[in-house]
């Protein structure tokens, strides 16, 4: 069904695109949110990505590659949104904080992960989200991001290292306070 909608939308059928967007918007938004950690930013990136999908659909030669292509446009929209927000917002103002509806990871871990994630570049965030939220393989990530598999691996390595460091920073024993 999706393939048929893609083909119709490629030919300028706006109603077909509306249906396509209806099926796509939640998936794109949830990924954008996880990269940007900010609701309004994720909304803007999702909206931009969907409009880009509409504009550039005629250039998509293989409708079966639509999903990977749409995620790619979304990631680029998220990069652009991240840069725009970073220019406008003071440090630390870019995250909503995690939702409080799950006891695991612990609130403390979540806080540390949020902090570590906030310090990552958009490129590093994207690889973590594609791997840990969408469960993509390295090859799939390379295709979506348009980068070599080796770069995916090195970005993952860097991103995981930074997250781990953030998580373990407070796990180290605190310096003892000397009695006055």
């Amino acid at each position: 069904m999706e393939r048929q909608l893609v083909v119709q939308a490629q030919q300028g059928d706006q109603d077909a695109f509306d249906q396509l967007a209806y099926h796509l918007v939640d998936r794109l938004y949830s990924v954008a949110y996880r990269i940007l950690r900010n609701g309004p930013s994720a909304e803007d990136a999702t909206q931009q990505a969907l409009v880009d999908v509409w504009r550039h659909l005629p250039s998509l030669r293989d409708p079966d590659r639509f999903d990977a292509w749409a995620y790619r446009l979304l990631v680029h929209a998220a990069y652009a949104e991240h840069r725009r927000r970073r220019r406008q917002a003071p440090p630390g103002a870019l995250t909503d904080g995690a939702a409080d509806n799950d006891p695991y990871p612990s609130v403390h871990d979540r806080d540390q992960l949020e902090r570590g994630f906030a310090r990552l570049t958009a490129e590093h965030r994207a690889v973590l989200v594609l791997q840990h939220y969408l469960d993509m393989t390295h090859d799939e990530m390379a295709e979506v991001l348009g980068i070599p598999v080796g770069t995916v691996r090195s970005r993952l390595h860097g991103a995981r290292g930074a997250m781990r460091a953030a998580l373990e920073a407070d796990a180290r024993p605190a310096p003892r306070e000397w009695p006055a």
Binding site: G12, Q14, F17, D18, A21, Y22, V25, D26, L28, Y29, S30, Y33, R34, G39, E43, T46, Q47, L50, V51, W54, R55, H56, L57, P58, S59, R61, D62, R65, A68, R72, V75, H76, Y79, A98, A99, D102, Y104, P105, D109, R110, L113, E123, H132, D139, A142, E143, L145, G146, I147, P148, G150, T151, S154, R155, H157, G158, M163, R164, L167, E168
Partner: protein, 292 residues
Amino acid sequence: MTDRDFDQLLDAWMDLGPATAPVRVAEAVRLEVRSTRQAVTLIGWPPRRFPFMNSTVRYALAASIVAVAAIVGYSYLVAPNIGGPAQPSQPASTQQPGASIGADLPVLSDQSGPLEPGTYVVTEVEPLRLAITVPDGWTRNIAPATVWTQDSTVHIWFGRVDSLYADPCDASGDLMDPPLGPTAHDLADVLASYPGITAAVSDVTVSGFPGHYVELSVADPTGDWCGGDSRLWDIEEGAQLGLPGLFGTLGVWTFDVNGDRLVIAGDVRSAAGTADSAGLDTIMESLQIQDP
């Protein structure tokens, strides 16, 4: 914490957060799409015409065609090499500038997937047309004008470079200041001067267009240079090309094509086998450039 624990923690953390978009997002898209035209895709090349041709221009053009025909006819019918041994075919690197690329060659698709061995036309560096012969085992990458081996150990990218990052290791992404000059020589010169990079520069000519080949590698291949994540230039918004990590090399060919700087980058990973590297050689030796 073990790697497995860490992965589980990240998985669980990623699951937190919204799974549905606010309704206003889809509604905003629907409204914007109603007033947004789809981008037109160019298919093929329009014939070159001179729509306003007065009779003087027409006669001058006819006279020059007659003159060219006379010269060609003399060369083939009267000149003393008739019946002599056939000249060996010229390699692409010595063809005349602007050598014509067959109009019937297939265009390299912009969609990812395995490529049949054969010759393709790369049209993504408009208005230039490039022809390359791809050996067995190569794939089209979804990135702009990029082909790679199926095991992703060698990549070739075709495009333009307008600016370079000031520091390949600096994730903040500041561009070089003063900006990059417009010629192939300017690019080769700057690439060769990056700190921490070893560069060897040589002159090359392809299809009659002069240029340079710069082979780049990390000066200290045993260290963790740039954390394995360097960036030299943007291949598109949000995606950069860097050096291929430890023990890999990046070959950069850059040509001046009638005032336009063409850049080709061949990224060879340390894991590349002999056949993969030979594939890069095959493609680059087959390269033809046409400036329409």
